[in-house]
């Protein structure tokens, strides 16, 4: 499974390079893939279309192809927040 997290927006309009992870290539990749699968099973989160809100795009690519989720972190469900946190840790 491949995961990509992108971020943009906010009043400063700052854009940052995306974080891309192949779960087959990292330790604890199976746990990460399981977490991503749980995120895919969630109802669609609220988007990030409020003015100046920082927005995220998560792309989960599995055997069924890419699944794209736009969301704001502040209103994201716990599993999605946990996945963002895990991806950030892998990027640092």
């Amino acid at each position: 499974m491949k995961l990509m997290l992108e971020r943009g927006g906010g009043i400063a309009g700052l854009r940052k390079p995306p974080i891309a992870v192949d779960t087959a290539m990292v330790s604890d990749g199976a746990a990460l893939a399981a977490l991503a699968s749980r995120v895919l099973a969630l109802p669609a989160p609220a988007g990030a279309d409020a003015p100046d809100q920082v927005g995220y795009t998560l792309t989960i690519t599995d055997d069924g192809g890419p699944h794209v989720i736009d969301f704001a972190l502040g209103t994201a469900p716990a599993d999605l927040r946990a996945l963002v946190s895990a991806l950030r840790k892998l990027a640092t």
Binding site: G13, A50, L73, T75
Partner: protein
């Protein structure tokens, strides 16, 4: 004895009777109730004498909430309309900044709050999306303003800049007026209108002429030491010279274009800044600055302000830069005459939005400038003294820069 109070279901004379003629717990309860009733009555008399019968009386109704580093909104109320200042600086900045912005819209445009119907103004400070990470942002969530306190390494509290508070509140005004779709050109117009009225709030509060103003957005919220892209101080954006607001190893380089030739076609996704709404807004931002200079009135709110305010109310939700250019030019002519229309068209031509055979050179314009003119339905009132801490002036500068991305990851 009758104390005149008619608000309690058991009349006081019965309570008095009970304190004299019954025994034990019932007598004590009656006595307590009577004392409480008298206390409340005294309080109401006191509030009435002080004019504080209702703390929210009057058209302005601000409430500041504290998110206490959580993501739940609105959080805990910490300062309501008329209450004394808090010991917390962001709370007071959010309260005072909302008050100045309200006064600006009220006194310059006779607008009653965000919705022009006296809507309460709610702000949340100390907001965080993650408990351990300072939130580098401020936003309007459709109902209220939300402010982070910054990471304290690049950004300080987002309540520090009055123009940012005016920017966020204006997102609410736009929502209740033309409701510009927050993507691509209509989204960049939405952003630009927030910068236009945000900087106007600051200039109006400081009584600055267009030459005295710094035309910077968010200058005060950057921590000292962030490098600018010009001789002017660093900021989030420069309306006078888009692309020069910052050029710093920690922050990257200001990516705003100042002309349509450098318009950035980005994806209408969060990662693409919804089609570059905070990036391409540099083009209409500079058009507003140029319109102010070409119109020649001393202050931004004298002529350009009423023109842009009427435009904010008249645009349709999917308006393009070209639509805004034509609308502002038409309204300028309606409100201030043919030369004002030419001045505004010239501004949009200089940023490459309007093209065509008729290129108006500023040197050809006549009969502009001088004393403010009152637009139909938009009375002009001199700005009052508003009790908010003074914001220092800043020098200005001109330079150009190219767009790049932030160096660090998500």
């Amino acid at each position: 004895m009758h104390d005149g109070c008619r608000c309690y279901i058991i009349p006081p004379h019965i309570l008095h009777h009970m304190t004299s003629n019954v025994e034990g717990r019932i007598r004590e309860a009656a006595r307590t109730t009577l004392l409480t009733t008298r206390m409340l009555h005294t309080q109401r008399e006191m509030y009435g004498a002080l004019g504080l019968t209702c703390l929210s009386a009057g058209p302005l109704h601000r409430t500041v909430y504290d998110a206490r580093h959580e993501q739940e909104l609105p959080g805990t109320p910490v300062r309501s309309e008329g209450a004394a200042p808090s010991s917390d600086l962001p709370t007071n900045e959010a309260y005072d900044g909302a008050g100045v912005t309200y006064a600006f819209y009220d006194q310059v445009f006779h607008r009653r709050s965000i919705d022009d119907r006296g809507m309460r103004i709610d702000s949340t400070v100390h907001y965080r999306e993650e408990p351990d990470v300072g939130y580098d942002n401020a936003f309007w969530n459709g109902r209220q303003m939300v402010y982070g306190e910054g990471d304290q390494e690049i950004f300080g509290s987002f309540t520090t800049s009055l123009d940012v508070i005016g920017h966020e509140l204006t997102h609410g005004v736009t929502q209740f007026e033309c409701a510009l779709i927050y993507k691509k050109q209509s989204g960049a117009l939405n952003e630009s209108l927030s910068d236009v009225f945000g900087t106007m709030v600051k200039q109006w509060h400081l009584k600055q002429t267009i030459d005295q103003a710094d035309w910077l957005i968010g200058r005060e919220l950057l921590v000292p030491g962030i490098q600018s892209g010009s001789a002017a101080p660093a900021a989030l954006r420069s309306m006078k010279a888009p692309g020069t607001a910052y050029n710093d190893p920690r922050l990257g380089r200001d990516p705003q274009p100042d002309h349509m030739r450098n318009y950035q076609k980005l994806a209408a996704t969060p990662a693409g800044d919804n089609g570059g709404v905070h990036i391409n807004s540099g083009i209409p931002n500079r058009a507003f600055y140029l319109a102010c200079t070409h119109l020649g009135a001393p202050h931004s709110w004298d002529q350009a302000g009423p023109i842009w305010y009427a435009t904010l109310r008249a645009l349709h939700a999917t308006a393009t830069f070209n639509d805004a250019a034509k609308m502002t030019a038409m309204l300028a002519e309606q409100q201030f005459g043919a030369d004002a229309g030419k001045a505004v068209r010239a501004a949009w031509q200089e940023v490459g939005v309007l093209t065509g055979p008729e290129i108006v050179h500023v040197s050809q314009l006549t009969s502009l400038g001088g004393a403010p003119t009152t637009a139909p339905g938009v009375p002009m009132v001199p700005p009052p003294q508003v009790p908010i801490s003074a914001i220092p002036n800043a020098p200005t500068g001109d330079v150009v820069a190219a767009p790049v991305e932030m160096p660090t990851g998500v």
